[in-house]
């Protein structure tokens, strides 16, 4: 006797999956409505993401696309904000608005890459340490502790200095300092999920360890790490800007916010616009990710999910 055709069942299953997703989205929307600050964070990050996307697809629609690189306009040196150049011009006469907008793309991509690398490595280490336990756990966690024993920015500076100047090297340096936090977080979540009965059930069914780790533990242990990653995006952008400011990040013509402030530092306070606007952008991006990350935690972590008031700075 046949019950249903496989095709129909698979279609119905994917429909169920979409239904579940929709339900979760609807729930998120309800919570979002109650939390204007999260909404503000979402709007800021949404706008910045759209800007970054536009800069990737069509950088030529920026007001002065040639100013992204090392174009020089002697007649516009240090020109103050004006209708043509709302944010003024820098020491090479380049339009600060164009460079600040293009910097969004660099900072967002680089920040995302830092967090993604850190999250991947940390998840791998934390999952293995938590699931296998015993000596493996001890060894991996002591290595993690060793990384955490050096202040983050100092370690990042040392690594970036060793690898040499450049945006990619700064990203690697920051990812190396970032993964231990995720490793710890994922490990503790893994330990909690490991004791759930469905994991024991899978073992009794005869599932292999790798299947148990990827199918049963990872999806249930990753939530807090992803929330933290959102919060960390802001800090990663800030740290990248710090490295850039110290001359260990992006190389000069690249309009990276930190590097721009570093270059404009000499002309403060008279030519204030050259350093202020990149600084404001850093502030905006960090604020946006913090608001969003905080809101997400309230949304996804039941421990923080109480009542209507979810704002917190």
């Amino acid at each position: 006797m046949t019950y249903a055709s496989a095709k129909l069942v698979m279609k119905e299953l994917s429909r169920a999956r979409i239904r579940k997703l929709k339900m979760e989205l609807r729930y998120a929307l309800i919570l979002l409505k109650r939390s204007p600050l999260t909404l503000a964070g979402l709007i800021i990050i949404g706008t910045l993401s759209v800007i970054a996307l536009i800069c990737t697809i069509a950088p030529q629609i920026l007001p002065y696309p040639e100013d992204i690189g090392s174009a020089t306009h002697p007649e516009l040196l240090h020109c103050p904000p004006s209708p043509e150049h709302p944010f003024g011009c820098d020491y090479l006469g380049r339009d600060v608005l164009t460079r600040v907008i293009y910097g969004t793309k660099i900072s967002l991509y680089a920040g995302a890459l830092v967090v993604l690398l850190g999250l991947s490595l940390g998840t791998l280490i934390g999952l293995i340490a938590g699931y296998v336990g015993g000596i493996v756990d001890d060894v991996l966690m002591r290595i993690t502790d060793a990384f955490l024993s050096i202040p983050g920015l100092v370690l990042a500076l040392a690594i970036a200095a060793t690898l040499g100047r450049g945006l990619m090297n700064a990203i690697i340096a920051l990812a190396v300092t970032w993964w231990p936090w995720y490793a710890r977080l994922v490990r503790s979540c893994t330990l909690a999920v490991k004791n759930e009965l469905f994991v024991l059930a899978a073992r009794i069914m005869g599932a292999r360890s790798i299947v148990i780790m990827l199918k049963h533990i990872l999806p249930n242990a990753l939530g807090p790490a992803i929330i933290n990653a959102t919060l960390d995006l802001g800090f990663a952008i800030l740290a990248l800007a710090s490295l850039g400011f110290l001359g260990l990040g992006a190389t000069p013509p690249t309009p990276e916010w930190g590097a721009m402030i570093s270059e404009a530092r000499k002309y403060l306070p008279n030519m204030w616009w050259e350093a202020t606007f990149p600084g404001l952008m850093i502030f905006l991006a960090v604020l946006g990710f913090n608001l969003l990350g905080d809101g997400l935690r309230d949304l996804l972590d039941p421990k923080f999910r109480r009542g209507a008031r979810v704002w917190r700075i």
Binding site: M1, T2, Y3, A4, S5, A6, V9, M10, E12, L13, R15, A16, R17, K20, E196, L197, F198, L200, A201, A202, R203, I204, M205, G206, A207, V211, K215, H216, P219, N220
Partner: protein, 323 residues
């Protein structure tokens, strides 16, 4: 007839370390020399109070734990120290239903995927249609309508979740299922329905059950034979009717006298009330483990551990009263 599951002198100890600076190692003897046989198609009820080692026994037989002694024979094969890869072949013939249906289902998987999982692990299907058929058949057998396949655990009630767990347990057509207090977290009306489903399944597919419970009336309803456990040891082991009508061990007698009887005339029947608590499994009393609470304890009970005595044919008691 050969028994499907034969357990001989099974032991499972857990080492517990206590203290921060000076580590004290304590050995908890959760299962300490348990022997029984379960014949194909029958149900062995395993009764005892919380912490006496019932669940550990069940999980060790399924080799979720590594035993510390004794022998486990499954279908004539010695699986006591089989490696995980050797066990994989056997695992499709055994499964488990847990007490807590809230923790035993992965919240990220649909009911269909949960029930299909054992089939996918053992690759027990050649076409997708076969997989779908097997899953829907298991859901039907477990008493769930087919549309439940597309739901997620959070959309189900406790009884429905337990039925999903049952469907997952029977989908590979196993010979042996450990039922680890499958109904004790459900309300009474749902309990009865789930128990009936389990009985029907046993009749239909001649599945062998190890039914673990602390509820004597449920055990009486489900089992063919009953083993009573106390502090890691079986103290009485007999056919259901013998055990319930002629209990011999003082502990069994005390347990049975605690079962409420729906008969007002029996309101003033003799009750054996036990004093004290079950012993600390890390530090069991010498001699008979029950002697501190036993109303009939003698000097011999305090010194020597009683052996399993066959008082009547197939009725075993671990008590000096019958020596």
């Amino acid at each position: 007839m050969e028994p499907l599951v034969k357990v001989e002198n099974l032991r499972k100890y857990f080492v517990v370390t206590k203290g921060v600076i000076i580590k004290k190692r304590k050995v908890v003897r959760a299962v300490d020399g348990v022997s029984f046989e379960i014949y194909p198609g029958e149900t062995l009820g395993l009764v005892g109070e919380s912490g006496c080692g019932k669940s550990t026994t069940g999980l060790t037989i399924l080799r979720a734990y590594k035993p510390d002694g004794g022998r486990i024979l499954f279908d004539g094969k010695d699986i006591t120290y089989a490696t995980e890869s050797e066990l994989r072949e056997i695992r499709k013939y055994m499964s488990i239903v847990f007490q807590n249906p809230y923790s035993s289902l992965n919240p990220r998987m649909s009911v269909f995927d949960i029930v299909a999982e054992p089939l996918r692990i053992h690759k027990l299907y050649s076409t997708k249609d076969e997989l779908v058929d097997a899953v829907f058949k298991a859901l039907e057998d477990a008493g769930l309508p087919p549309e439940f396949a597309y739901r997620y655990p959070h959309e189900l009630s406790g009884g429905q979740r337990q039925r999903v767990a049952i469907a997952r347990a029977i989908v590979t057509k196993p010979k042996f299922i450990v039922l680890d207090e499958p109904t004790s977290s459900l309300d009474v009306s749902v309990q009865a329905a789930v128990l009936n489903t389990l009985k029907d399944l046993q009749r239909k597919y001649s599945i062998t059950y190890l039914f673990i419970s602390h509820d004597l009336s449920v055990v009486r309803f489900m089992s063919h034979r009953v083993a009573v456990m106390y502090a890691g040891k079986i103290v009485e082991y007999a056919n259901k009717s013998d055990l319930f009508e002629k209990p011999m061990h003082p502990y069994t007698k005390a347990l049975l006298s605690a079962v409420p009887v729906a008969d007002p005339k029996k309101r003033f029947r003799e009750r054996i009330i036990l004093s004290g608590d079950p012993p600390d499994p890390a530090n069991p009393p010498p001699g008979c483990r029950f002697h501190p609470r036993c109303p009939f304890a003698s000097d011999r009970c305090r010194k020597e551990e009683p052996p399993m005595i066959e008082v009547e044919p197939r009725h075993f008691v671990r008590c000096w009263l019958y020596a």
